[in-house]
Symmetry: D2
Subunit: 264 residues, 4 copies
């Protein structure tokens, strides 16, 4: 089970969220408190927005706690919008290309959860993205592919609808091979302006999602850190979160119900 944190607000050093507090994301990676897997030692990643429309991306396969580059980058770089992820592999080997976040143009994406039976529906899902998007695929994870599906389904035009249709793709692909669809999707993503998140599962066990409103910025995380002080709000299952600099909305989320045509 992976762990992640995202921030939108006034410009801060990344380390204020990622590495400094004793219950920071990196501290969590070493010694989890709530999550099922004891350790998130299978790599990490950062996507942060700065002076360009596209985010910067830094990923590596070392444990987050032992990478001096990560520590220095988090200490030096300021950003008003960023995503950070620590990985516990559920599938796909340990390689940089399999580390979150994934980036495409101005979009970034990271995920906690998994598509069960992925090996049986992988090519079916890959076939649903256009050549241009498929050519961006660098790794082998279900998460990266789900992100490409979101892009294919119109992430630029309507983020929630795109995720709903991508989720529908997974359900349809599972059904097509005679499996009951089983996937867990607690994900955050951004276009550089807003920060979006979704909490969903095909069963009652959607991975947790929490938000926090601060004086100068908002966080959305897979699991709270810095437990004392400010309070974390649990987001209910089957929710879609939209954070902007002006505020935050939480709306119900379900996979698209309509049957989808194939790409191309």
């Amino acid at each position: 089970m992976c762990r992640w944190a995202a921030y939108l607000g006034e410009e801060v050093f990344l380390e204020d969220i990622v590495s400094a507090p004793c219950h920071s994301l990196i501290a969590q990676s070493h010694c989890a408190q709530e999550a099922k897997s004891a350790t998130n030692g299978d790599g990490f990643g950062l996507a942060w927005y700065g002076d360009r429309a596209e985010p910067g991306l830094y990923r590596d396969i070392l444990p987050a706690w032992s990478d001096p580059n990560l520590k220095s980058l988090c200490r030096q770089i300021k950003s008003s919008l960023f995503l950070a992820h620590v990985r516990a592999a559920t599938g796909g080997g340990t390689s940089r290309a399999n580390c979150h976040p994934f980036v495409s143009g101005r979009w970034s994406f990271m995920h906690n959860g998994q598509i069960s039976g992925f090996e049986r529906i992988r090519r079916r899902l890959e076939a649903a993205v256009c050549d241009t998007l498929y050519d961006q695929r660098q790794g082998t994870t279900d998460s990266e592919l789900f992100f490409l599906l979101m892009l294919e389904e119109g992430l630029d035009a309507d983020p929630q609808a795109a995720v709903a249709r991508a989720a529908r793709r997974v359900i349809e692909a599972s059904e097509a091979v005679g499996m009951a669809a089983s996937f867990k999707l607690t994900a955050a993503f951004s276009d550089g302006d807003s920060l979006f998140a979704v909490r969903y599962a095909t069963d009652a066990q959607a991975p947790t999602l929490y938000t926090r409103d601060g004086a100068t910025g908002r966080c959305i995380v897979s699991e709270p850190f810095d437990r004392e002080g400010e309070s974390w709000q649990a987001v209910p299952p089957s929710s879609f979160v939209t954070m902007t600099r002006q505020g935050m909305t939480v709306s119900p989320f379900e996979p698209a119900s309509a049957k989808l045509a194939m790409a191309g």
Copy 2:
């Protein structure tokens, strides 16, 4: 352009072929003499056969010349059959999963060359391998996929015919999207008993292939090393080489001519 060497014969330390001579594969990786690309600094790999039917595999993304592990392994490990490869990336990122050799069961495979326009026919080729084989795909290279195609086309039953049919797959996929097929294939592979190699290109520029018969073993390489002393034999284009412990045969090679059915 990648560079590789393979050996079959009496048991020797890997370093006798891979790293010791001044014109060894690793020395070549640092400062090429004939090849077009100046440096093979994008990773390396070893597959060697020992006490098991399946080969051992060691791959990393460091330049071969700077990896102390590689040096120690080559110094310590003895084998009577092994493949070694140094990479200059032509496509696919620098990751361990994109380094040669590739291994599946008892088979190992490494390649110098490339499939031009691969991004346009990648999924078409991926669709030609069965789920079980596709699930073994760890990286994104044309080379790994060609190896899976060879396995799909019956590598166990008839190695040369399998390569010929896999090559046909590439040509047909290119034609299906309206491209003139363009690929270069100088590859070596083994099942742990025999060592096979192929030299082929759709044009007149097939990458070079050389063999050498020694008192205690045979080498087949993409480019000669250790120029003095024993003599290297150039293998003509459109050839298929079969090396066993008893001898070596070179036969003409062409892609299969018959139209192929799709898998599954």
Copy 3:
């Protein structure tokens, strides 16, 4: 706190000890059961003896559980004498040069424990080894330096006496700067013929050490794995273990009592 295992006996695949059993060293590295630190994710190393007098050495900074090279090497390589180590850093950055085992000529060495206040006595200890040995120092750990001290103090001639004198060096260096000596030393080392181990601490908390006699080989480990079945014998504190192919002796161990002259 690091964890290690060493084996002497009939030739076996490394994986039989290192990676195969569910309570193997690598399984332990991911989810410790007895040790104080939850995870040994700061690198690993193998030294194994084969056809040469000097051991092969393979070390990397990835967690042991996520390195496919390690898994393949352990599956492929057979040895009758080897040392394996998983690291939880106490000092010295995460780099290959700081991973155990350390090797010099035919000797290999690995350690669980640490020299407290090392930063205050580091150069004093470094000054006690000759230029030739010091030139072999690749990293910055107290463990590597202790190994060089052992070599300096005559490891070839009398292993136990060399360790005793090296320990004396640490105590004297501490006293020279006005510190109470505080170090923990649970270490294994080999010359390719015999396997030695020591359990010692300046206080009552010497890290654990266990041995096991099997039908075809003997193990000595920092912490038992494979708890069911064969029984593990705890080695008492202040002990020195000598394993040969003929048998095993355990003798009392104390640092040398005599004042030592400086090197060179």
Copy 4:
């Protein structure tokens, strides 16, 4: 022989200097044109100043040309003062700790050149730095140690005098062991305000050093890139360069002539 570039001026994206032009530092690393060693594939590093007094530091042992993190960081990060280095190892293994730049507090340092016979005078030089500085030593290179010597000799108070005294330390240490001093020093360093460089050798072969004045910033490099367009000025041997936001001065440089006392 290593290669490096440093910049001081208006805030620019790092890639404008490091990775974008066809003759950029990274392009050079892959296929050198003037330097003696064909390839700088033994790691790289960046130190850049931003919102803190201390620089950010990013170093890795991959070839610069194959690291996607480096490419993304250079594309995303803006700075008005930074140092970038690509390494061809002359001594010291390939590890992050041996990659330039080295950083201490607000100071950063990088070097092309080497101290000949370093193994014979290493501890003598190490003994010349105080415990606090020595504890910062992470690697084994002559370059890192020379930087610590500069700090020991008062880099904060008088940069040129500190370098001159550090150079004297090397000469004296060589003489003390009966060697003719032989070292090459083309180095750049910064405190976050000014950019300094030195070109010196004990013989007539000081590695090259060039400067360039642009409309919005100044560069100082070990070897020109982007040959067309703006003109590069060669700095003569035995020179010390001081660049500020106001201008640049070049003054004669020689090692300190006075005999130096030992530290502490």
